[in-house]
């Protein structure tokens, strides 16, 4: 019985391994497949002031509720030197709902103003320990993770957000202030690893 309990505990631990705050951005040269048709890496996307990586997809209701904020955040922070990319790691669905063709349509319909790329083999998601969409990772100019988790505290309505976690983190990062909190959580759709 004790052995079984230990195995179950280990399984839980393994599934919960997420990139720690302070970690260096992993897999920076992993070739992603952008909807523009170009190969792209995180190194290509990096900004002078930092980098925002958003694990996302086409169909998750939480993505659909939140993605208006992808666009407004890109509008505001890319000009301030923060590189941004949304990554689709649902490799199990690349021949279906998360195909490049569907991603192109989705990006067009939702006015995406940032790269949107497939993560072959879900390797980036695995390296980050990303489990869901949307799942946010913010790195500073030295490629160290400074914030991870949620965009804000209200997926349903941008006008009813009490705490804009990610915007607060980016503002603090840009002004050299302490980021607090450095980690938050929100509900989301599981990433469909292949």
């Amino acid at each position: 019985m004790k052995l079984i309990l230990n195995i179950l505990t280990l399984m839980t631990f393994l599934s919960a391994a997420e990139l720690e705050i302070g970690s260096t951005m992993p897999k920076m040269d992993h070739a992603l497949k952008d909807i523009s048709g170009k190969a792209m890496t995180l190194s290509d996307v990096k900004g002078d002031a930092g980098t925002l990586v958003v694990f996302s997809c086409n169909t998750c209701p939480w993505v659909i509720r939140w993605e208006d904020r992808y666009v407004s955040l890109a509008d505001k922070y890319i000009p301030k030197g923060i590189g941004m990319i949304t990554v689709n790691s649902n490799a199990a669905r690349f021949s279906g709902d998360d195909s490049i063709e569907e991603m192109i349509s989705h990006a067009r319909e939702n006015n995406y103003n940032f790269p949107y790329a497939q993560d072959p083999g879900s390797e980036l998601a695995a390296a980050f320990g990303a489990t869901k969409t949307p799942h946010i990772y913010l790195f500073n100019r030295n490629d160290k993770l400074v914030y991870r988790g949620a965009i804000d505290d209200n997926a349903k309505d941008a006008l009813k957000v009490d705490v804009p976690y990610l915007a607060n983190a980016m503002n603090a990062m840009l002004s050299g202030e302490k980021i607090d909190p450095v980690s938050t959580k929100a509900l989301g759709c599981s990433i469909k690893y292949k």
Partner: protein
Amino acid sequence: MKHVFLLIYILMITTACESVELIPAASSDLMSQVRSHKGKKAVLLNVWALWCVPCVEEFPMIVDLDKEMSELEVIFISADFDDQLEEVKSFLNRQGVDHISYIKQEKDEPFIQGIYPQWSGSLPFTVVYSRESGTIVDSWEGKESESRFRMAINIALNS
């Protein structure tokens, strides 16, 4: 007239089937529910959503386990948005959930932390609590096999 009686009959049947009570709940309410079964039943808590395909896929299996095991209490918590109450109730009724069920009424961060701090927020999410001690014997994110559910429940019933 015959059609009127038929319509009334269908309405009566439909009304009779609408038996689930869907209660808005915060994590603290749910943890109180879990604790109330300590020493009496093992508890399986499952957080799901209508939009979550793997949640909906494993749902009937969990309902069957609930009906099969009298010493197991299954607590379903819908994480759907509050503008979907009717759809959630309709789904629960179709699945044969004929008792109280819950829908999240709390912001994500305190809800996740209150249910289980190690949970990343990905759905579905399942936690299994020991019958005797009320402590967690297993938890997992994502859809799982019936054998994984049965293994965890078996441990919960005997610990």
